[in-house]
Subunit: 158 residues, 2 copies
């Protein structure tokens, strides 16, 4: 698959997500970019606001979790693999309030390789992978960070 | 404050939450119960469903986070303390899919005492407290668990 096909593939997944997950739709998430290694999802502040006028913590976790889930799902789709992907565990740090539209970015955690994940999936029909995500802040520091473990399970293994 | 006043106090907070946090409103969270030590928030499956037909992970985190936030907020309001309460860090384990309406329950983490929290808040104007929350599963085991650290900051300290 060429790089020019990555954006439509990611756009299809976000469209699917918004039409099948009502909360992703009310959050109004949109594809920012996807280059195969990193995905960026945008979210407007207004539908994700809290009582203090900044972004609701639940929306920050959701945008990072959806970015991480999309990263893994897209890596599988690019290789034609049909899997159920779900988040198994996550740790989130909320570092600063977010007062404007925001984005969630996800990539593999440092030192983690796709090759190991795909080799395990091929031999066992199931594999886990660690993702690092964040919501960039208004300064150089992130406003929130997440590390999460996702599990992929082959759907049509017999 | 007598125990009979706890339910209206909690109901007021949930009404406030739903009118000021659009995502809490679209999740359709409702008060289950509050006895001063434990709060239960209910959520219907339908607005919180994912593409697989079970509860969206973001909604599971959100209902647990809102239950934890409400537990701390209510403990402060019962003592007439006006604070900003926010979540600083959380670790979530997603243990089993949730195929029906669900609830998030929150209480203090084991070994954690309100007295220490209020003493620190009185002396420093700011204190942290650890909360344990879960989404009960269809069997005896929880479907999701969360431990989270919340911070309260006195609003009108001079």
């Amino acid at each position: 698959m060429s790089d020019t096909e990555l954006t439509p593939l990611a756009q299809d997944l976000i469209d699917f997500t918004r039409s099948h997950i009502p909360q992703a739709d009310t959050m109004a998430i949109a594809l920012g970019s996807y280059d195969g290694e990193r995905i960026v999802l945008n979210a407007p502040l207004q539908p994700n606001i809290n009582d203090k006028g900044c972004a609701f913590g639940g929306s920050l976790v959701s945008v990072m979790t959806l970015a991480g889930w999309s990263l893994v799902e897209l890596a599988l789709r690019r290789r034609g693999l049909d899997c159920d992907v779900f988040v198994a565990e996550s740790t989130v740090r909320y570092l600063a309030p977010v007062w404007s539209d925001f984005r969630g970015e996800a990539r593999l955690a440092p030192g983690v390789e796709w090759d190991t994940f795909f080799a395990t999936l091929a031999s066992r029909g199931r594999a886990r992978i660690e993702v690092a995500a964040d919501v960039p802040g208004e300064e150089a520091e992130p406003a929130a960070t997440m590390t999460a473990r996702f599990v992929a399970k082959r759907r049509s293994s017999t």
